[in-house]
Chain length 268, copies 2
Amino acid sequence: MKTRILSAAVGIVLFIAVVYFMPPQAAIVAISFLCAVAAHEMLGTTGVLRGSKMLWVCCVAAFFVPVATTIDAYYLLPVLYLFTLVIFLFAITHPKQMRFEQIAQSYLGAIVVPYLLSSVLRILVHHGAGKVYVLLPFVAAWCSDTMALVAGMLFGKHKLIPAVSPKKTIEGSLGGLLGSVIGMLIFGFVTGRYFHTQPHYLMLAVAGVVGSAVGQLGDLSLSLIKRNVGIKDYGKIMPGHGGVLDRFDSVLFTAPLFELLLQFINLL
Amino acid sequence: MKTRILSAAVGIVLFIAVVYFMPPQAAIVAISFLCAVAAHEMLGTTGVLRGSKMLWVCCVAAFFVPVATTIDAYYLLPVLYLFTLVIFLFAITHPKQMRFEQIAQSYLGAIVVPYLLSSVLRILVHHGAGKVYVLLPFVAAWCSDTMALVAGMLFGKHKLIPAVSPKKTIEGSLGGLLGSVIGMLIFGFVTGRYFHTQPHYLMLAVAGVVGSAVGQLGDLSLSLIKRNVGIKDYGKIMPGHGGVLDRFDSVLFTAPLFELLLQFINLL
């Protein structure tokens, strides 16, 4: 528990330093790095490409997805296309190492996951108040995670989806929804008071419910993959928390939600 | 052979009718339909999602990728995100039907292949002379295919990659490169003479070489997947040719090439 809290503290300090005290390039590099690590976890730790040179190609592609899609969504295409050429060139010359499954999984780790995770970067860069907005997916995901844990421990009785995650309960899940709503409302109040935002409380509450729901789905989804390949954690980059995909499993699903919501709705 | 030629003739007549004599909406619907069929071939014919409800969800996603990315590259994100929510929601509630491999393969069939194939549509819609430009990926791919076949039959001696495609020869491959270059030069000459384009012959020749190379890679890549799952053809939508992925295997790789080239270079 001590390691877990210490490691979280280090993470939060790093996050604040990068987002609030350094030029935007620092955030781009940081998120790109996280995406490369996530690709390594999804394709290396799981064993899909373990020991293959293609693992590193996937990490390089994952590194470039955030910067390309932040400059312009159109630039996903050149990254995706180059990746396609390289991966299939490798596959046809190494047909035993690289089968249909591995090819497909490589796209998931190298392109899809980085594209979703880098929503965080696009929120930060593309909005005037990006430095406030960027916290939304984290507030929704982590308030949900925390309250789900607490509610589950206190009231947990009915299993949610035992085949995927044996410890999760319906009571915990509902607690997560509530936690996320409360987190969003407090966040709206604080930013309204101290950062001159105009919180729209009803919208924030709705976004909290939806954010918690997709965040919990993200958590379960990444657990399902771990269960499929028989690993406990995706990595140990954050001692006590596991890998990037363990800590950001919910954020992977809340970040694109808020990127899309912010296009259409005034939350703050 | 008769079926093959007849079927090609029908295809070409349909293509001309849709691209040159109907409003642009017809091309959008036609390409969207081809992408949905391609997804069905990659995920149904191969057996990946055979009999699963998710097969149809993938076809629907594949149908919307062309129109979304043609309106704006940014709209890939909502399609990808909704697809992510649906597929993982299904996966966690059907953990035995939908494993890591099937999830990843679904993304390949529902998002990646349609995104690459719909380059054809984006070339057609986004350029003033789109109706001329749209032929480039087909000229490169099919002149390469045809000349590779002829050169292979006449001079074929040294196997290219027997483990993936036992009949292909190095001589055939070189013939394909030459065929594509000749095709591009003739195409440049004809469009320059009759459609007032300004062909840049050196660039066209280079594009011909690169186009043939990636087209042949596309051909081999789609063959590799067939070989992995043990099928001969992806479908029979075009009698004598097979499925969309059999006939458009090279175009799948030449289309994004030309979409990207046309952003930066004046070919015509």
